[in-house]
Symmetry: C2
Subunit: 148 residues, 2 copies
Amino acid sequence: MSRRAEQPPRERLRPGALPDLIGYRLRLAQQAVFRDFASSVPGISPGRVGMLLLIEANPGVTQSTLAQAVQRDRSTMVGVLDQLEAKGWIERRRGADRRTNGLWLTRAGRLLLARAKRAIAIHEQRVAARLSAAERARLLELLGRISD
Amino acid sequence: MSRRAEQPPRERLRPGALPDLIGYRLRLAQQAVFRDFASSVPGISPGRVGMLLLIEANPGVTQSTLAQAVQRDRSTMVGVLDQLEAKGWIERRRGADRRTNGLWLTRAGRLLLARAKRAIAIHEQRVAARLSAAERARLLELLGRISD
DNA sequence: TATTGTTATACTCTATAACTATA
DNA sequence: TATAGTTATAGAGTATAACAATA
């Protein structure tokens, strides 16, 4: 018979059913990758770099089209783009349709993005350090089948 | 010569360098999985269910130990546990060390978790619908190597 | 009527710093 | 001195609803 109703808490927790869930494992992997990104590419988040990359590949893209591409509400984009513009990395120009803004990288934005790309290449190598090229490709392919 | 300095925005964006980044693909996959989770297991988030699963597997665990397990600050846990307690799913009991709270599922919490587990099993099947058992295991293994 | 960008507002999740009670 | 839980506070990141300008 135990003297106490309470059991002593373990310092090392039993993981229970969690580790077999794809969503949980995805979250762990993503957190690890984002931590590495934050220390590898300081001063800008993965999401923001993603937007700059999309603007680079699609100069003149409208706010709404970009919002749709990153699956955010167009009202959400306003503040984000305000920040990128305040940093001097993008500019809004009048679009052909006068309701729209076209988004363009500035010279400073192109410079930042070039630097970020080099840092991301190193980050990407570190993230995939324990994967062969074939395994890395396999992972991307399997992730694609999850995302549909 | 073009009549306009502006180029027409494409409705379908060029993805640029994004799709080859592991972090980006992880985020897409996780967003897809979380969307499915939200519609499959209404009323509770993946993170909250994860905590309930950890409490179930480690009855009497302290707040700080749980916080460490889910990689959150212990001050963050307070509000989260307040909510779980307000829902009637967990209770805080006095621990052996009188500074600590032991966390326990209530009967309602065990019922909720049993229901959630059944919903999660279906959710998990849908998420992995396009993966064979071997591919699913391979994905988890590759994710584990990303997470270290 | 519908769309684009915007504003006001609010909600969720998270952290830091400082406090208290215990150890 | 150190640790566990708590509080106050703040900062990201996000969404909804309503509006003006334009299509």
